[in-house]
């Protein structure tokens, strides 16, 4: 049942990707290395993402999420966002996911059976998800036609200098506020996780 639903979902997604290739007016003759690489990355990402939600054992889910994030970082590189890519690896793969693994180990969670909610709810969720996905695709396809990505980007695009400039001029307030947010998060986490506040 689960496998069936999710399988349907996967097929749908891959189909829609193909559909985009067609509708997006990309003649398969003009396929270049970029497309191939992208197709590879995309399919891997989708599979590993599915791995996150189908794996029984949380630790495996976590690992496949790590893989997804890593691939995402690679995709960022191919999108000329080198710095963000590195941050992606450092912050997500390097810190957040380790935290997840750490907690899973701490609570010593093995396989959860049943891993999923009641079939009825499950089916309903799948249905709603599919609807949502179709809506999203609809909006992706409609407003902007098949605009091919710019072949080149201005020099130094996505370098730390540019990001820093944005960060410390236009978004300075947001930056400072975020720092406060982090501080609060630290304190909150400590307070919550401490067994008894001495």
């Amino acid at each position: 049942m689960i496998v069936l639903g999710l399988g349907l979902l996967v097929m749908l997604m891959i189909l829609s990707l193909a559909g985009v290739v067609v509708v997006g007016g990309i003649d398969l003759a003009g396929l270049n290395l970029g497309h191939v690489v992208f197709a590879l990355q995309a399919s891997l990402m989708i599979l590993s993402a599915l791995g996150v939600i189908v794996n029984r054992s949380p630790i495996r889910s976590a690992l496949s999420l790590v893989v997804t994030l890593f691939l995402l970082a690679v995709m960022f590189v191919s999108l000329d966002a080198h710095l963000v890519a590195m941050l992606q690896v450092i912050v997500y793969a390097g810190a957040i996911m380790v935290l997840f693994l750490f907690v899973i180990m701490l609570l010593n969670l093995h396989e959860d059976r049943p891993a999923m909610v009641r079939p009825g709810v499950r089916g309903f969720a799948g249905f709603v998800g599919t609807l949502f996905f179709l809506g999203a695709v609809h909006f992706v396809m409609h407003p902007l036609g098949a605009a091919p990505g710019a072949a080149t980007v201005p020099a130094g695009f996505g370098t730390i200098e540019q990001l820093a400039e944005q960060l410390f001029t236009r978004s300075l307030l947001a930056f400072e506020v975020t720092s406060i947010l982090l501080l609060v998060a630290i304190v909150g986490a400590v307070v919550l996780a401490k067994r008894k506040l001495a």
Partner: protein, 643 residues
Amino acid sequence: MHAAATPVQFLWLIPVLPALGVLFNIFVGPRAGRGAVNFVSPAAVGVSFAAACYTFMRLLDLPHGAALVQDIYPWITAGAVDVHVAFHIDALSAVMILIVTGVGFLIHVYSTGYMHEDPGYARYFAYLNLFTFSMLLLVMADSLPLMFVGWEGVGLCSYLLIGFWYEKEANASAGKKAFVVNRVGDAGFILGIFLIFWSLGAGTHSLRFTEIAASASKIPPHTVTMITLLLFVGAAGKSAQLPLYVWLPDAMAGPTPVSALIHAATMVTAGVYMIARLNFLYILSPTSMAVVATIGALTALFAATIGLMQNDIKKVLAYSTISQLGYMFLGVGVGAFGTGIFHLMTHAFFKGLLFLGAGSVIHGMSGEQDMQKMGGLRAYMPITFWTFFAGTLAISGFPPFAGFFSKDAILGAAYGSQYGSVSLWALGLVAAGLTSFYMFRLLFLTFFGDCRVDEHAKHHLHESPASMTMPLIVLAILSLIGGWIGLPEHWLWGDRFGEFLAPIFSGAHVAEHVSAGTESVLMGASVVVAAIGFGVAYLFYLVQPGLPMLLAWRAKGAYNLIFNKYYVDELYDLLFVRSTVALSTFFWRAVDGEVIDGVINGTASVVNANGSLWRRLQTGNVQHYAISMLLGAVVILGYYALR
């Protein structure tokens, strides 16, 4: 006040110093201790008195009728209103600040002695300084709204100080009474202000007195009458005139220096000041003038009669105050504004003196106020006696003492001015006689005769400390010679005071068609009346002490009527208090209890039922919420997609 206004920068000092005193007494006073408080509070007022004197000198340097002004900051600027906090010192307000700070200073000094063993001294002096501040605001204000602030401020202080010893139920309720009665008056006052603003018509108005004076002539007569009458209601409330005088006798519950400062010298005269300040309005409405004069005269007589029979030393003085205020209103009512203010000043001297003397007596008698239990005190407290005697002479209008000149000038105006009449003069004259009678009665019962003091009190019956007797002496001198600055025209140097004030009242030309001969006759009359009063009192209370009892027994009805103050309080109680209570009870029980509470509780129960119905949606399972969120997203997407 048409003369040039000179802007200066030091006026703010005068009110601010007492205000600082307030802060000191509130925040550091209790910890700083009695000594510090006893020094700081009088010092604050003293310095501001010095400042007032300086201001006065500056004013004298300026050409006749000039004024000193200082604009502090714009206070209310909204639409057509542009009121500034600004001070305006002309001859009138100069006199007032001198009285307020001067007498105020003396009474502060006196209080240090009088309250020397009261635990709440810091609170007391905080209130007293606050009062000084508010009163100065009132008299220095250059616009009606600011004046109203001071007006309310002094009202508040009076309330606080009457109920100063709030542990006693009676005192607290006396304070409340004063407050409520004053509300009635203040309602009239503020309505008057509104009416002025309204009648000034289009354009922005600062409600400065100058502005009002400038455009007073443009206001239609009926409106003027309305305005002035409303304002007079306020004045009557604050200055205890018929029919709103009832609070003042009860106000004697407060400490005696307070009675001297607030309920004799300064606050109660605010109404007179206000009318004098707005003379240009009153002069435009003969009706209002008549009303003011008549009410004044009636009050003078009425209060005097009640004063005849009181046995509480302070009550007598209270009614005397009411009647003297009546005189002032009579004065301003007949257009003799300067004279009214003159009497205000002299009254401040001798009534302040009398109250302080009474305070000294009560102090010596360790709290006893009933004259029946006094007598022969002059042996025990000579200074108090002599000063008190001076005060009595002054108030009874014996020449050449202060009261004589002021009171006589008023009577002369009442007889002579175009607003006056023989009847008004007659009323005033009778009242004068009664005044002299009850004052000497007071004097004899208290200081002469055989001593009726009980042993316990007699045991430590003593003259008051210097801090109390010094002010007495100063005030005594003032009440003796204070009147000489306002002699009748063709006497030695004439009416300096009147001339000084004249420019203020230049708008009000009062035709004094009284020949010198008539005037001297009038004078003689008042002196004779005063003498008669003295004589009767002498006969009743020293020669034939039995006589009053006999008289009272003969004319029982009249006696009871007057002794019970004409049952006015009972009447008011019946008319206003009980009816109000009944109405309130109705609204409380029926309207509030049934209707409003019903509505509220009904709403609550409806909401409650609703909640208990819908809360079943809240399963506490996160995923249910999540799924509904996603559904919402889908719906929105769908809406825009299929649109």
